[in-house]
Amino acid sequence: MKIKTKFKLFLILCIGIISLTGLASAASYWVNNPANCPVTDSTNFPGQSCTPTNICGDVSGVAQCYDTSAINPPGSSDTSLIQHSETYNGGYIINCFASTDSDSPYCDNSGAAWCNRDSTCYTTQKRATTCTANVWETSTCGSCRSGYNDCDTDGIICEIQDGGTCGTGAVYDGCNGAVGKCVCGSGYNDCDSNMDNGCEIQDGSACSVGDLDGTYSGCDRAVGNCIVTKSDLETGTFLEYLVNLGDGALLWFKNLGTGDLINASSSSGTFIVDNSANVITTGNITADWFKGNLNWSYVQNAPTSDWISTYNATYDAKVSFPGFTDLLTDYSFTDDTGTDDQTCAEVTGCVADAWDADADVNADEISESKINFDTACAAGNHLYVNGDNLACEADDDTTYSDLSEFNDDILWTIGFNTTFGDLDSDTTYSDLSEFNDDILWTTGFNTTFGDLDSDTTYSDLSEFNDDIGVSTDWDAIGDWDTACTGCVDATDITGTACSDVCIDDDTTYVSSDFTHNDLTGLNDGTSYEHLTATQVAALHPESHDIASHSDTTATGTELNTLTDNSMADTLHRHSELSASDGSPDPALSVIANGNVGIGTTAPDAKLQVITTGELEVASASGAGRYKTALGISSAYGWIDSYRVGTGAVPLSINPNGGNVGIGTTSPGTELDVDGEIRASTGILFGTDTAAANTLDDYEEGTVTVSFHTGSGSATINPSYDTLAYIKIGRMVHVQGMLSISSVSSPGGDLSIHGLPFTSANLLDYSGRTAVSVTYSGLTGISNGVSGFISEGSTNIMVVENTATGFTDLGDNIQAGSGFYVSADYIAE
């Protein structure tokens, strides 16, 4: 009877425990006063009681007991976003059935209480709840919930929710002043920087570049970056290669035909590298440096102005030719008619320093320096006008037989102008007083003309040689041109302007014949005669720069002996070009060996551009232009064909035919690579673009396989347990010799496990693949053996052929049995 009673109690206990454990979950029993925690709970803690205390905690369904009337609310406030209990609103509450945390009492929140959010704070005002210290179930609204913003700072509702929609593809993200800050949502882009139309570009949405379809991915400047479908050459993908020195070039090809090397075009322009490696572009070439010989004839069609210029007021545009000492020989200037050896004045737009563009030598041009007459001739020599030139001759010819020694061209006759009274007005000289004693030509009159130059007083004109038949038109003077009715200078003796000047070569010259006709400045008391061109050149070596010609005392000579080339060589030898704003300076350098550098003053090649950017051939300037860029970094060099603001455009190499070689200078096919080719996603042939027709794999290797039998076992010989395989695309070929080293009661089917790839299930029905199997050392075989690979398998099933089909082979094998396997199958 006692046993029976115990059994009943046991059953009751079992039921209770079953219920207890079944409900041992994280049940909650929220109260706003811990004293209200229950003593028992038949649902969550069946059979248990905390009498005379309260349930205060739950350990895996075991109620924890505590005098909860002793639990006080927290002494400090707390903030919450969590609704622990729907029964109560904001403020501290407690969970009698809380899972135990730290020390007893277990129904508190690690020694505190739970701060329950207030529904109004949370839902209406979008704010957190601040539970009041030392009070149960009392709270206020706190700061904005994460992701909400009180932009209008009314302190009530946090009205802007981050992520909320504020336009096409746009969402709020914080505040912008008193309103929400609208930004692009994930996957959207405000490429035009105008939020009025929202974030108009959505990543992944359809776009096109020319005839190429693509999808947007971010912005490229002010428009969406359209990533087009990759072409056969993957030009839509940024590729990285490592080509080391000696490995060749990144893009290495040779055109054995006559077509262009590169011909890239767009709707806006064309970039061509022709068969002679000339770079031809309808756009600009922009680079830090150009290196190489610069043939100016190819820039003659440049804009008529500013093709070598600077816009910086501080610096003049300069073209220098350092290292050349004879510019006359090394360089020549050509005018717009193609005529070589032009003077600066003859070259359109050329303005020499201090010299006018006209043919006359004006007084200011003399004063500004061109010839230093003080040093023009060596000591003991003097300068004289010789024909059209100035020349030096020895001073020892100081005795003149008569005035015939004076060249008609002597322009010192200017010295007779108004200073000498009516010398040129009445043509009759009453006495020599009309001659100024200071006339230095009196030196030339010395012994021949009596005391003409000794006493400075002239008794009569007899002191003058009879030949001096000064007349109104000077005809009587020697062989002056009798036809001449003009003057010897631009003004006659009376100061009247003359249209002609008379010279004693019986030729009538007009003033325009004289390029440097104002030699008034020569009236320095010295007798000058003509200088020959050679003498003038000797007096003005090329080393003289313009600045040295500053002799303001120089008078009366001609400087047109500075020939065109001398001017060019002297003034136009420049080696550097600066940027329009002066920086960089220089922007272009031409060094002594003729190398031209952009971005370097020591170019290593005929044209060298040093830049961390790119050498660009563009269809135009600015956004939307098509460009082909060349660049180099420490890791690789690159060529990129691209439309700014839109994305990549195809880069065609030899579009007109011709082979391209990589790693070879003699490509034998359209693309000849001396090395390996890697295609990350595969190779397509012909015009095929179907993914299924992509040749995407090649692999070869070996696998270790094992024998399996339906019953018993067969151990493979470790010396013959390997199959070699080659995989081309999905086609797999496996072959090798396998041998069994030992068996243990083998029976049932025999299979070889461990093929390198799973056989594909290409058809809805059985797609087994036949395998060629040759055997040795089998027992009881009459009709040979066969093999097959089931779809979705990595095994080869080896079977014995029968008259009507095949049967299991497991009981025909023995130690030493061998198989020669050759299998071709299609992998998944």
């Binding site: 009673t5 115990k6 046991f10 206990l13 059979g47 009498t51 350990v59």
Partner: protein, 190 residues
């Protein structure tokens, strides 16, 4: 299974007939002797010593009364589910504590409490106090291993359970489980 029905009552001094003696009275003596044990109609068995059976006592036990210990008192000292006393632990320690607190007592089992309520006038038992709670023995686990008298009164884990009785003179109270971290007195029976 059939249980033997027997009642144990007080047995007075009677004797069996003497062999080769008590001539003419041995039957009377034998009847007197037997009547003391089984009554005149053999409806009960009354012995002062032990009843020993080579095999089973057969009967339903419904009349087996006043044969076990009953509630005596609870200790004034409380214990969690891990009970020790000197070198003793578990049930032995609990029994020894009861015995040392109340002579000849031990830690009550559920049966003993039930029998007390059944067979005693609990309203007159001063130590049977309303709202008192004290550990009792329930024995083996009902379902989970942790419901096994606080691991045989060796565990004070709050995830183990031990039985206790909540005393109430009105109706006797009820038995409960509570975690072994709880502090409770021991129910002692004799």
């Amino acid at each position: 299974m059939i249980f033997l029905i027997f009642i144990i009552t007080f047995v007075s001094a009677v004797r069996l007939p003497t062999v080769d003696g008590d001539s003419g009275s041995w039957g009377t003596l034998l009847n007197e002797f037997l009547s003391k044990f089984v009554g005149a109609d053999a409806t009960y068995l009354n012995v002062s010593g032990n009843i020993t059976a080579g095999e089973y006592f057969i009967g339903d036990g419904s009349q087996l009364i006043n044969i076990g210990a009953t509630f005596h008192n609870i200790t004034s000292i409380t214990y969690n589910g891990s009970i020790t006393n000197g070198s003793l632990v578990g049930y032995q320690a609990a029994n020894q504590i009861c015995d040392l607190t109340f002579a000849d007592t031990h830690l009550c089992t559920t049966d003993e409490i039930i029998q007390t309520i059944r067979n005693k006038n609990i309203s007159s038992i001063d130590s049977f106090v309303n709202l008192d709670t004290a550990w009792i023995i329930e024995g083996p686990p009902g379902y989970n291993a942790n419901v096994n008298d606080c691991q045989g009164w060796t565990s004070d884990s709050n995830s183990d359970l031990g039985p206790f009785w909540a005393y109430n003179k009105n109706g006797g109270g009820m038995g409960w489980l509570t975690n072994c971290e709880s502090q409770k007195a021991l129910s002692c029976c004799k």
